[in-house]
Structures are given as C-alpha cells and as structure tokens.
C-alpha cells in the first residue's frame, strides 16, 4: 500500500516538509508558506518523490490563489463592493472552496508521509 522503500530518508523528509509548507500556505502562513515551499523545491531533483510533492504543493497553491482571489475579486468587481449580494456570493464561495483546497492538501500531506503520489498508481 505504500512505496516507502524506493525513496531515501531525505527525500521522504523533503516531501513531507513540502506538503506541510503547502498546507501552511493555505492556512496559517500565506506567502511565507509558499516561500518555504519554493526553497524546498529548489533542493529537489526531478523524478523524485520530494520533487513531486513540492511541485504538487505549488500547483495546488497557485490554482487555489487564482480560484480564490481572482474569482472572488471578479465577483466584487462585477457585483460592486457595496452590494450585499456580492458578499453573499463571495463569503459562501470563498469558505467552501478554500476548505476544499485544504482537504486536498491534507490528503497530499498524508500521501507524502507514506512516500506516495496523490493518486495511487498500481
């Protein structure tokens, strides 16, 4: 069920740290988390599990940033800052979609701990 054996300890540690940085960027430490993630990414080499998780984390966060901020920004721009309906959409949308990204990143973190990719590929 896990592919632990083929990765070095350092790679596993980097992968776990990358996944952790990704989730921190999504929650407690936006921006700082991403910088940490980028620094881990620099240490990795392609085709390794740590590289995979660093890239995955950056992808999740870039997509999240786009989907959350750009779409919310558009809602505010189109709906108007002083319209209550704008905030109905923005708050509901932001909360649920943000949580969805956190849950995905959580699964990624758990997968990094077992040295696996996000999806199991037998």
């Amino acid at each position: 069920m896990n592919a632990n054996n083929q990765h070095s300890k350092l790679q596993l540690k980097n992968a776990a740290n990358a996944a952790l940085a990704s989730i921190l960027n999504l929650t407690l430490l936006p921006v700082i988390g991403f910088i940490a993630l980028y620094l881990i990414y620099k240490k990795t080499t392609p085709n390794n599990i740590d590289h995979y998780h660093a890239v995955l984390g950056m992808k999740i966060n870039i997509i999240a940033a786009f989907v959350l901020f750009v779409v919310s920004g558009l809602m505010i721009l189109l709906g108007g800052f002083n319209s209550p309906w704008t905030w109905v959409y923005v708050i509901s949308y932001f909360t649920i979609v943000h949580t969805a990204f956190i849950v995905i990143a959580l699964w990624a973190l758990v997968r990094s701990w077992s040295g696996d990719k996000l999806k199991s590929n037998q």
Binding site: M1, N2, A3, N4, P84, W85, W87, V88, I91, S92, T95, I96, H98, T99, V103, L106, W107, L109, V110, R111, W113, S114, D116
Partner: protein, 464 residues
C-alpha cells in the same frame, strides 16, 4: 461479535434511527414554517416544532452514544457487560421518558406542560435545548448514572484501553456538566453564563472526547493500523480539543453582560478550536492511507472519513467564520449561527454515530459487513444527506450574510421581519435541500432491509 452483551447496542441504534427520522420530519416542517408562516398554526407553532426537532436530536444522539458504548466497551474490556439487564431496563426507561416528553410538547401547550409536571417546585424549563420538564431531566440523570455505572464497572473489572478511558472521561463529563441544567438563577446574566456550561462544554468539550474515541475505535477495526499509533493521535486530538475548547467557551460571553476580557479570551481560544478537527481529518486520512487491510465494510470507512471532513468543515471552518468578536458583533444570533449549528451537529455527532452504526450493525446481524447492494444504497444515502447538508449550510450562510448586511451592517438598518421577507428565497432553497436530506435518510433506513450479494471477506490479505 465477540461478546453476547454487545448485542444490546442494536436496540439503542434502532431507537436512535427512529428518532432521527422524527427529527428530520420536524426539521422540514420548521423549514416550511420559515416561508409559510401560518403552516400548522396554531396547532404546532414554530417554537414547539423546534423544541421537538432539537430535543429529538439530543435524545437520539444520546441513544447513539450509549449504544456505541455498549457495543465498544465489552469488546475493548474483553469481558461481558457488567449488568446487561440494567442496560436493557434503562433503554425502556429512556425511550419512555423521551417519547412522553415529545408527546407532552405536541399535545398540550408548553405552559400547561410546565404546570402538569410541577415545574414551579424546581424551575428548569424554557431554556434553549434544555426545555425538558424537570422530571424528564431527573430521568435523564438516572438513566445516565445507571449507564455510567454499567460501563464504568465493565471497564474497571476488565482490560483498560486508551479508547475506553477517553470514552468514559467524555461520558462522565457529559453527566457532570448536565447538572448545570438544574441551575436557573433569576439573574439573566448568570443564567446565560452557566447555561453554556451545559451546552458549550458538551458540544465543544466532552462530546469531542466521545466522538474522537468512537472514531478511533472504528478506524482501528476497519484499517488494522497499529493501536499505538492511533492512541497517540487520539491523545493529541483530545488534548487540543480541551486546550482550545475550555476557554473557547468565552466566545459565548461576548454579548451577555460579562467582562470585556472575554472578547480576547473567547476570540483567541475559539480561533484554535478548528485545530482538533483539522487533526481529526489528518488522522482519519492518515490511518486509512496506511491501512493494513481492505475491510469489506466500505460504507463504514466512508462514514468514518466523512465524519472527519464534515466535522472539520462544520465545526471547524464554519465555527471559525463567525467566532472572532469583531465578526460576531455583527453575526451573533443570525442565520449564520443556524448554518454553523446544522453542519457542525451533522458533521461531528450525527455522522460519528452513523459511522458506529454502519460498522457494528452488520456484525450484530451476524455478518462481517452488509451485502453489496445494501452498502451501495447506504453510500448513496451518505452522499445525499451530506451534500444536502452542505447546501443547507450554504443557503443559510447566504441568508445570514444578507440578514447581517440589511439588519445590522447597513447605514439604514431594516426591521427583522422586513429582512426576513427579503431573504425568503434562501429559505425556500434550504427547504428543498432539507427534503433531499429526508430522501437520503429514508434511503438510509431502507438500506438495512436491502437484499443482495453477500460480500466476501478480503481480510488482512492486502499489504505492501
């Protein structure tokens, strides 16, 4: 089933599901009363229907917790239940007390019920969630004490595990904090302050211990992951639950006439309250990812994962949304609270009881897991109920945001009832989502009777 007395859980679970159906029927009634104000008026006014809705929830969750404990404790303690007859007797006492109380709400005006049950001797009625007549409250205490005695003796004379110790701590806490239900001072500020010692310290305190231990138990059973690992997680989750939740009580002390420091204490500690739920999700994901076997009861695994995620979403995220004092200043007592309440109760407590039922019911019926068709139907009901609850929450959040804006935030605030008319569309949508939830629930009940191909036990075969 290793011990015969575990089977007592079955009657508790059947009663729980029955009352759950009743709760939801009254839920959709309430939803309709929100948009058709005269529906069933004056026969069943809103407050009566709501009392039935919330009290049925509490009673059936207690049935669920007790049933879960009766199932889990003998197996963990490696002995039969201390007094099976007492568990059976208390079942009927509790069911009778519950049903009579609900009938009392429905058949006579509440003030008459208060008179009939001699509320004036020890007034405890008429506070939210604690509307039960004093005599019912005394009945609850007796049932819970008998239950704790039974469970406690089983644990004390048997093998002690971390799961049973955490569970009994949570259950003792449940009993102890319920005693505040009997303290109703004339001074409204004191009244409200100590009312939260029941309500908050239950759902954001000791119930989390019960929830975490039940979830840990099911995860051990369905994943086969090492107990040491699970117990470590369990400790750290409940540690965070109490560290954040005890002082997190302060988020209820913002606007009831209590000192200003609660604004800081309540905001800071309740901002930490999502952490235990976050960790519960991490925990459930982690042990399922590291599972040593694929348990044939896929539905139970789905419920377990669903519980963790939905508790995080409902209790964690939706709680955090309005818990900081500057935000709560605007949102306190609006539909935002209702949104959070619905998803948190469903995600944390309803789902953990259904997880336990999903895992144990087939075993009590002599199977390892329900047949394939029954499991598929159960999983459909999972998705119907869970997704509709997400929508109920979203619609109530929409209603709440609009309500806050028009009634509280705007420079020309509108009266309550005017605002209610303006947010009616959300109440209609919520009602539709509520009906889908009801369909999901009926499907859930049906899944217990569905016939189909029995599952094969793939057992401990799959490892890396």
């Amino acid at each position: 089933m290793k011990y015969e007395s575990q089977g007592i859980a079955k009657m508790y679970f059947i009663a729980a599901i029955g009352l759950f159906v009743g709760q939801i029927l009254f839920g959709v009634t309430l939803g309709l009363q929100y948009v058709m104000g005269d529906f069933l008026f004056p026969a069943i006014p809103f407050n009566v229907a709501r009392m039935v809705h919330t009290n049925l929830l509490i009673v059936w969750l207690l049935f669920g917790f007790m049933g879960s404990a009766y199932y889990l404790v003998p197996e963990e303690s490696e002995r039969e239940l201390y007094a099976p007859w007492l568990a059976k007797l208390m079942f009927w006492v509790f069911l009778a007390a519950g049903v009579l109380t609900i009938l009392g709400y429905l058949l006579v005006p509440y003030a008459t019920l208060a008179e009939m049950t001699m509320n004036h001797l020890l007034p405890t009625m008429g506070r939210e969630f604690l509307e039960q007549p004093t005599i019912t409250k005394i009945g609850i205490v007796i049932v819970v004490l008998a239950f704790l005695f039974n469970i406690g003796m089983t644990i004390l004379t048997g093998k002690k595990t971390v799961i049973t110790l955490v569970l009994i701590t949570g259950l003792i806490g449940l009993a102890v904090f319920f005693l505040f239900a009997f303290y109703v001072p004339d001074n409204l500020v004191l009244d409200k302050y100590f009312w939260w010692f029941v309500v908050h310290l239950w759902v954001e305190g000791v119930w989390e211990l019960i929830m975490a231990s039940l979830l840990a138990y099911v995860l051990i059973k369905v994943t086969g992951v090492d107990r040491e690992v699970i117990e470590k997680w369990l400790y750290i989750i409940i540690a965070m639950a109490l560290i954040s939740g005890l002082l997190g009580t302060g988020h209820h002390f913002f606007w009831i006439g209590t000192p200003d420091y609660w604004q800081w204490v309540g905001s800071i500690f309740s901002a930490l309250e999502p952490i235990p739920f976050f960790m519960m999700t991490l925990f459930a994901f982690n042990v399922v990812n590291k599972r040593r076997r694929d348990h044939p009861n896929k539905a139970a695994v789905l419920w377990a994962l669903g519980t963790a995620v939905m508790a995080f979403l409902g209790a964690g995220v939706w709680g955090f949304l309005h818990t900081l004092a500057p935000v709560n200043y605007y949102t306190h007592g609006t539909q935002i609270t209702a949104a959070h309440g619905h998803m948190a109760f469903y995600g944390a407590y309803v789902m953990v009881v259904l997880t336990m039922i999903s895992y144990s019911m087939p075993i009590m019926r002599g199977q390892k897991a329900a047949n394939e068709r029954a499991q598929v139907l159960e999983m459909w009901s999972f998705w119907l109920m869970t997704v509709s609850m997400v929508f109920i929450t979203l619609f109530l959040t929409g209603a709440g945001v609009l309500q806050v804006y028009l009634q509280r935030y705007s420079e020309t605030p509108l009266p309550f009832m005017v605002v209610q008319d303006k947010i009616e569309i959300f109440y209609w949508l919520r009602e539709v989502a509520g009906l889908v939830f009801l369909i999901g629930l009926l499907l859930y009940v049906y899944s217990f009777f569905a016939k189909g191909k029995e599952v094969e036990d793939i057992g401990a075969a799959v490892t890396s």
